[in-house]
């Protein structure tokens, strides 16, 4: 029973990583860039949701929608102003710009919302499920987070597989030049990717802060790195991979804290990452790309 409880805790934090990783992987797969500002977009989403519920007194669902709208606009703006001018140059240049954007968002959030942490009120209102006289507890957040991340995963898979826009995205991801020759508007497609990725970030922000209630300007950075790790474990660019990687990372983290050492759990998590990459150099579900000569 005890093991089961830790497993559930692991899945709980893992599904939060998973939903952040989905955004990472989506942007990486199509725009081919590591968007290190993704974690900070999550933070902005959580702040927007917090303000809408706590200061305007509107229901949670409205706050999520508001956060999604703001983050989508923010994502498109960032892409247009900071990333698009660098398209076609070194991917490192874009990486550094993304870091600049990340610094900017964190400091802007501090100026707007102050340094004092906010206590995020969970959007989940129903009571936790308790089994075996409280020896096993499943909180509402776990159920909602897992449900939402599965929903998002399926939605994204269908979107990229079936719709016109989604197919265009896959084409751009495979070969940007060829896609352009086929009449696909590459810029528009990439903007669309950022819009979707940022809307997902807003949802992730709300779910992250429902699970871990402290909200401050640096809230997004550590889960951001964890989620990036998760995306790599699963195979960056792969949508089911992000989901798998996130859950796996959460479980490894929780179990190493419980059964090995709380002090060395970071080291253990990253050591597992390295082991996985040694066995599968492109992650668990990543595609092995044949290099052309």
């Amino acid at each position: 029973m005890q093991v089961l409880q830790y497993l559930i805790n692991g899945v709980s934090i893992g599904s939060v990583y998973a939903i952040i990783a989905l955004g990472y992987t989506m942007v990486y797969g199509i725009a081919k860039m590591l968007n290190f500002a993704h974690g900070d977009v999550i933070m902005v989403g959580a702040y927007i949701s917090f303000c809408v519920t706590n200061y305007m007194g509107l229901p949670a669902i409205v706050s999520i929608l508001a956060a999604m709208v703001v983050c989508t606009v923010l994502g498109i703006l960032i892409e247009k102003l900071a990333y698009k001018p660098l398209r076609g140059t070194s991917s490192l240049a874009v990486l550094i710009t993304a870091i600049g954007v990340s610094y900017f968002l964190q400091n802007a959030a501090q100026l707007i919302w102050g340094t004092a942490p906010k206590s995020f009120t969970s959007i989940v209102t129903f009571k936790p499920f308790s089994f075996a006289d409280g020896a096993l507890v499943i909180t509402g957040e776990v159920i909602i987070t897992i449900a939402v991340s599965i929903l998002v995963m399926v939605g994204l898979t269908l979107f990229t597989g079936k719709t016109r826009m989604g197919k265009a995205m896959r084409a751009v991801s495979e070969d940007r030049d060829a896609a352009q020759l086929m009449g696909i508007n590459v810029n528009q497609t990439i903007s669309m990717t950022f819009a979707i990725g940022s809307a997902l970030a807003a949802i992730a922000g709300v779910l992250l802060c429902s699970t871990v209630p402290t909200l401050q300007p640096t809230t997004g950075s550590m889960p951001g790195i964890r989620a990036f790790t998760a995306a790599v474990i699963g195979g960056i660019g792969s949508i089911p991979g992000a989901m798998l990687g996130g859950i796996l990372l959460g479980i490894i983290e929780t179990f190493s804290k419980k059964y090995i050492s709380t002090e060395f759990s970071d080291a253990i998590v990253f050591a597992v990452l390295i082991l996985i990459l040694l066995v599968k150099p492109t992650g668990l579900l990543g595609k092995q790309v044949q290099e052309k000569v």
């Binding site: 706590n54 501090q110 004092a116 942490p117 206590s119 804290k257």
Partner: protein
Amino acid sequence: MKKFFALMMAAMMVVAMFAGCGNAEADAGTIKIGMTGPLTGGAAVYGTAVEAGMKIAVEEINAAAGEDGLKIEFKSQDDEHDAEKALNAYNTLKDWGMQFFAGAVTTAPCLSIAPSAVEDQIFMMTPSGSSEKIANSGSNIFQMCFTDPNQGANAAVLVSEKNLGTNIGIIYDSSDDYSKGLMQGFKDKAAELGLNIVCETSFTNANSSDLSTQVTQCKDEGCDFVFLPFYATEAAQVLTYANKIGYEPTFFGCDGMDGVLTSDGFNTDLAEGLILMTPFNPDAPETQDFVAKYQAMMNDVVPNQFAADGYDVIYAIYDACVATGIDGATPAADACAKLEEYFATYSFDGLTGTGMTWDASGMISKIPAAVIIENGKYVAF
């Protein structure tokens, strides 16, 4: 592009150099107090609180000083909670002509600045750097808060005296010296007093975003009392998660946890029955004036003990200056020697306690106070 860079570099160099040369004239009527603290980044909440508390004290003093009284010129610098940046910030203040150093806020920056302050013979009093190593760095380094092991020991004594629990659990932050110092002090004293510690578990700042495992561990071990020597941010997480899984032991925190009630949006029901050791009570009548001023300055945020410590540091230094006849023209080293002597017999009353005294190493002695949260308010425990 290379030219652009070269030009930019030249410009930067010039700026940096002149920034260093701006030694202002010393004005006898104004003493210069400098402060460093994390004003940006993850620890910014503590730095900005101390800074605001100090600014309030400075405003009060300058308003009361009138035309001819001794005034204070105050300057704060960001150290980003980083030992290296802290030294840069301190040097910047030195170039400005600082006579007294009222920092740093967090321990690591304090430890990196202290040897320089000893070398320069600048009087240093940290509002909230709580490691014993700080005061031990030199005879001119003073602390306004308890040292960690002392506070941990005080907590254990309180637990034993009031019989707060039989199965004791500890969750601490193993990557944080504050938390570790408290835990060690608590554990040592608990062993001496025969308290029964059944569960000891930790987290690090890199994995503090999920504390469910640690709370579950305490629950599994049947702890009816859990000692939480860390900051409000993580405490809110522990309380929230414990509530979710229906776990209700007595939670006990330290001064770093002050502010847990007032964080924006926090459901204060969760903290009901929480006991914490804090020298500052924002609900007490004697602190209301300060609380009102702080809220006016900081967008209605309720001050915590960091702000109050900052406020006290400024008053302690200022009152001592007035008593020893130090003014703005006194060189920093002379002022330092005078204050060092004066602090040996000094008894100071402030927001965080009355009759505070300092020992030869610069550590403070004041009465430890604890509060319990009842109906969302601090009540003396």
